[in-house]
Amino acid sequence: MNAFSQAVSDGLTLTQRNILKNLRNPDIVVFSSAAPIAFALLFGFVFGSAIDIGTNYREFMIVGILTQTMLLTAANTGVGIAHDMKQGLVDRFRSLPIAQSAVLVGRTNGDAVNNVMVIVLMSLTGLLMGWRIRSSVADAALAYLLLFLFAYAVSWITAAIGLTAKSPEVLGNAMLLVLVPFTFISNSFVPSEGLPTVLRVIAAWNPVSALVEACRQLFGNIPPGRAAPEVWPLQNPILATLLWVALILAIFIPLAVHRYKKTVSQ
């Protein structure tokens, strides 16, 4: 067996393990969805009643919620890896003659499968709240693919962080602290044109904004009569999102694998 096919086979064995783990802990899906559902209700019915963007606000902000959900569930990857470290499982895996990438590939794949369940649940919530997909099946499929790829890329970031964490609990809280502002300083919940200058620039170049813009276009949720965006990533949101995904993967896959090679549990 050559090195590549061995890496694929090791990765698949560990993907299987993580899917089994996730299936036996359905609370991960439930809790990953609970906070976004609460946010959706809060924004949709409480804040939304005071927000006037000249169109159906709930339809506008559900895409923001979907994006936020994908970002937050990606944090589960780091937390899961920190658990494996704490329980000494990473030591066991590292003592086995397997590809150095396999443990991380298995974890990110398993979490990607989990993310599919979460996004289905969140989309149903959105539909109940009045969100509609007003485009073709192909466009909608591309939007879901972008959400999914983005979550997968962020999984690799949290994986790299998870390998250096002292405890899974601390890591979970710390990552929320970082990820939540990322989703708020963007066009997720309000149009970013009205933000103060500094925040507007951050929001324009925030990868989350490109993803949200791309999904709004592809789902047909852009408010009618909105002025065309002025910055490149929002003018070309699909390409920008794909570039962000490629950039994140190109940096964080090698970084995470490099850290994995050196890590031992405390």
Binding site: M1, Q6, S9, D10, T13, L14, Q16, R17, L20, K21, R24, N25, Q87, G88, L89, D91, R92, F93, R94, S95, L96, P97, I98, A102, V264, S265
Partner: protein, 330 residues
């Protein structure tokens, strides 16, 4: 005899802490080496270096003739490791854990399944094989962990404190399992804080303290190093203990230890059974009534304490000198 494990001058630091300070080790093929030492003595670091989880800062080591740095991947095919915590996936069943490890050793799905069944049988886990291991007792989890370590019939097995945290019954069961494994001809490096465990399982023992080897030998050799036998005498009255101690002074090869509550005197002697006869005469002459006596070899506990205490004293002297030297930098 060929050596399955060789270490020469292995050193590993973590920041300021020197975890291993020039470890030399040689473990003959098919033998059991017990690595004995208090917490923080470098046992786990030694196991992690030899099982390729860590790289040494200096020195070199080979396992089955392969270099732990250059040939790490090849070594991983030949070793089994059971770390300090039972590294078992709690969400999976014992059978699923074993099958996964079998597949990761590239046995193939069918062979991994067959091997899992064999090991479940052998480690007495068949009844619980399809239950998630999160419900297992500490002893059962340890057995699953050990079974995972031997899935690929490794030539060299590393067990890091395999019975720490187990109750006495589980510990005995674990010893039984380990003894059987070794009969199969594997080389075993075992770390432990329990002297009894090293005495029972190991052919040779290396005593570590503060990252250095302070003694090495068979359990018998180590016991002999502490000098001769121990004569234990019980006298009739607590008041007679000081008199007895005075009378026995000429017989003792070291300090006499006394326990007034139990009216017990422990006398280190180096003249074998002649000590029995002479002590009776001496005590009779002093008018002390004797109610019990025995002559025994020193226990490994006594050996261990005398070895590690000695090196601790000298280390503390060095440590404070180092602190002084560092002080102006702060």
């Amino acid at each position: 005899m060929r050596n399955a494990i060789v270490a020469e001058g292995l050193t590993k630091r973590f920041g300021e802490i020197v975890a291993l300070d020039g470890l030399d080790l040689a473990v003959g093929e098919g033998t059991v080496m017990g690595l004995l030492g208090p917490n923080g003595s470098g046992k786990t670091t030694a196991v992690r270096l030899l099982s390729t989880l860590l790289r040494p800062d200096s020195g070199r080591a080979t396992v089955e003739g392969l270099d732990v740095v250059k040939d790490a991947v090849a070594i991983r095919r030949k070793i089994g490791l059971s770390g300090q915590y039972a590294a078992v996936d709690e969400d999976l069943t014992a059978r699923e854990n074993l099958r996964m490890v079998g597949k990761l050793y590239h046995l193939g799905t069918a062979a991994a399944g067959k091997r899992a069944d064999e090991l479940l049988e052998r480690f007495d886990l068949t009844a619980d094989a399809d239950r998630q291991t999160k419900g297992y007792s500490g002893g059962m989890r340890r057995r699953v962990d050990l079974a995972c370590a031997v899935v690929a019939k490794p030539k060299v097995l590393f067990l890091d404190e395999p019975t720490t945290g187990l109750d006495p019954r589980s510990r005995l069961a674990m010893w039984q399992v380990i003894s059987e494994l070794v009969e199969g001809g594997s080389t075993l490096l075992l770390t432990t804080q329990y002297l009894e465990e090293a005495d029972k399982l190991a052919d040779r023992i290396t005593v570590l303290d503060r990252g250095r080897v302070v003694a090495e030998g068979t359990p018998d050799e180590l016991k002999a190093r502490t000098g001769g036998e121990r004569l234990e005498l019980t006298v009739g009255e607590a008041a007679e203990v000081p008199t007895a101690r005075e009378a026995l002074r000429e017989l003792a090869s070291g300090d006499i230890t006394v326990d007034l509550d139990d009216r017990l005197l422990i006398v280190p002697v180096s003249i074998g059974s002649e000590a029995l006869v002479r002590s009776v005469r001496l005590l009779d002459g002093a008018g002390v009534r004797l109610t019990g006596m025995s002559l025994r070899r020193p226990s490994l506990d006594e050996v261990f304490l005398s070895l590690t205490d000695k090196s601790r004293d000298s280390h503390e002297a060095r440590g404070s000198a180092a602190d002084d030297a560092k002080a102006p930098l702060r």
